[in-house]
């Protein structure tokens, strides 16, 4: 059962880390608001459930669109700074500000929703709504399916379409891409929209897994960054690798620690991902996908 939880968690982390990596590659902005994007999705799913009785699984397409809009708005508000060549510190502060605005909006909305529904909606879970197949939770299948669909879609987009090749080209070398006639601005816009959309979907699935409060985004952002950094912020595939490494180790190591030292250790999940992240940064600053494996092999065999 613990492995089931680890896989579900990893799947969601992959969705979130992928968005973070994508926008980092295209615009060089480490986005601290990525976690809150997801929580926006969670509350929209809650609203659809409470007001219209729509099962959260069915509202995923709506969340995709809502998330996309949040991502778009973020990019538009960062754009004046990007245009001015603001330093990366300033851009990070700007995303912290956007995160705070989102937290305010989510918090305010949760109370408004509570008044409409007539009971408090500040905290909620969807786990009780889930179905099960062969004793496994539905979210295991759904989240895995979403990740597979996403990877398949991304593969088709990036390797089989003209826009995708252009997207990869502008990620690698934006100024050369411009000389080819690619509108780099469009690819940036796209990356933010997609990043928000993926986070929105992750937000619809997250409440099946853990309790949501308005500030949950600030908590999961550590794991998201850990996943992206461990995998390597410079490669999209890094988010996939990092998502599973962080997701599984956070779940498993914490679980075994708790087994050995008591339930108090369950709260140390974030510490585990933090330690893995720092260790990665010190050994391989550009993450697993940033390592020159040929060199490593050479060094190993030459000894």
């Amino acid at each position: 059962m613990i492995i089931e939880g680890a896989i579900i968690y990893s799947n969601l982390l992959v969705l979130l880390a992928l968005g973070l990596t994508l926008t980092y590659i295209t615009t060089n902005v480490p986005n601290f608001a990525q976690g809150s994007y997801a929580i926006v999705g969670s509350y929209v799913a809650l609203t659809l459930l409470k007001l219209f009785g729509i099962c959260p699984y069915l509202s995923l397409p709506v969340l995709f669109i809502v998330g996309a809009i949040v991502g778009l708005l973020t990019y538009l508000s960062l754009k004046p700074l990007i245009k001015r060549n603001a330093s990366v510190e300033m851009l990070m502060i700007a995303t912290l500000a956007i995160d705070l605005i989102l937290l305010g909006v989510i918090g305010a909305y949760s109370e408004v929703l509570s008044q409409i529904v007539g009971s408090t909606q500040a905290k909620f879970v969807f786990a009780n709504l889930d179905f099960s197949i062969f004793g496994f939770r539905g979210i295991l299948f759904v989240s895995t399916l979403v990740v597979i669909l996403l990877l398949f879609g991304l593969y088709l987009l990036l390797y089989k379409t003209k826009f995708g090749i252009a997207l990869r080209a502008s990620m690698e070398n934006p100024s050369l891409a411009q000389t080819m006639g690619i509108d780099v601005e469009k690819t940036r816009l796209f990356s933010w929209i997609l990043s928000g959309a993926l986070a929105g979907v992750a937000g619809g699935l997250l409440p099946f897994m853990q309790e949501i409060v308005p500030a949950t985004g600030d908590l999961i952002i550590i794991s998201i960054f850990a996943a992206s950094i461990v995998g390597g912020l410079r490669h999209i595939s890094g988010a996939l690798i990092g998502g599973y490494i962080i997701g599984i180790s956070e779940s498993l190591i914490t679980y075994y620690l708790a087994m050995a030292f008591g339930a108090g250790f369950l709260v140390y999940g974030k510490v585990v991902s933090l330690i893995i992240m720092i260790a990665t940064l010190l050994i391989a600053p550009y993450g697993i996908t940033g390592v020159d494996w040929k060199k490593v092999r050479k060094r190993l065999f030459s000894q």
Partner: protein, 241 residues
């Protein structure tokens, strides 16, 4: 009759507040090779970048096909059939050779891209066997062939090359110069070339400009430049560099 392809009037440009080019007047003729030479730091590479819109233009005009394109953003210039080849990082290392060629035809429609890739591969047959390789794994010469092939795919009328023979062996440089001449003669391409290897470059050129400290020091036909006393002095200076 001489047809002017590009005319540059009183151009002042640079990076941010740092002005590099001062009051440049120049012209590029259709179907000819025009070469800009000059010592290191004379602003010749910046000149190409400026024509393509990658620097800041303070004042002046760039007339192309009777239109001032001084403030047209780079990605739109690419659609105006102007191609620019930077000196370094001129191919996408993470993309395969084939993908690089395809992306070069980004602004063209599908059938046209196929046709242009065929043409590029005829001029650069060296690329045919390495289509599936990632550009990052190519040798310096292969990379330069690919970059020039990409320029051909784009079906440009004007090709701006920034030191295409830099860091290549003399033998390979000779091949590249040959290909440049071939591109002019086969397709009537207008070529604007910036070269460190000034003497050899002028030998294949029609017209030339000599830049010193961001200004046009003198201009003329390539032959005039080669025989100019000042050029001989400078070229000694350059070869000494």
């Amino acid at each position: 009759m001489v047809i002017r392809m590009i005319k540059i009037k009183n151009l002042n440009a640079g990076y941010g507040k740092l002005q590099i080019l001062f009051d440049i007047n120049a012209k590029v003729e259709k179907g000819k090779i025009t070469t800009v030479v000059g010592p290191n730091g004379s602003g010749k590479s910046t000149f190409l970048k400026t024509l393509f819109g990658l620097t800041k233009i303070y004042s002046g005009e760039i007339i192309f096909n009777n239109k001032n394109i001084a403030h047209v953003p780079p990605h739109q210039k690419a659609r105006m059939k102007i191609a620019y080849l930077p000196q370094t990082n001129n191919v996408f290392a993470d993309l395969t050779v084939e993908e690089n060629l395809k992306i070069a035809g980004y602004v063209l429609d599908k059938d046209k891209v196929k046709e242009r890739i065929e043409i590029a591969l005829n001029i650069f047959p060296e690329l045919k066997n390495i289509l599936k390789r990632k550009a990052g794994t190519l040798s310096g010469g292969q990379r330069q062939f690919l970059a020039m092939g990409m320029a051909l795919v784009r079906d440009a009328e004007v090709l701006m090359l920034d030191e295409p023979t830099a860091q290549l062996s003399p033998k390979l440089a000779e091949v590249i110069f040959g290909k440049i001449v071939e591109m002019r003669d086969e397709f009537g391409l207008t070529i604007l070339l910036v070269e460190q290897n000034a003497k050899r470059a002028l030998e294949i050129s029609d017209n030339g400009y000599m830049f010193v400290s961001g200004k046009v020091a003198f201009e003329g036909t390539a032959e005039e430049l080669l025989n100019h006393e000042k050029f001989k002095e400078y070229s000694l200076g350059i070869t000494a560099l």
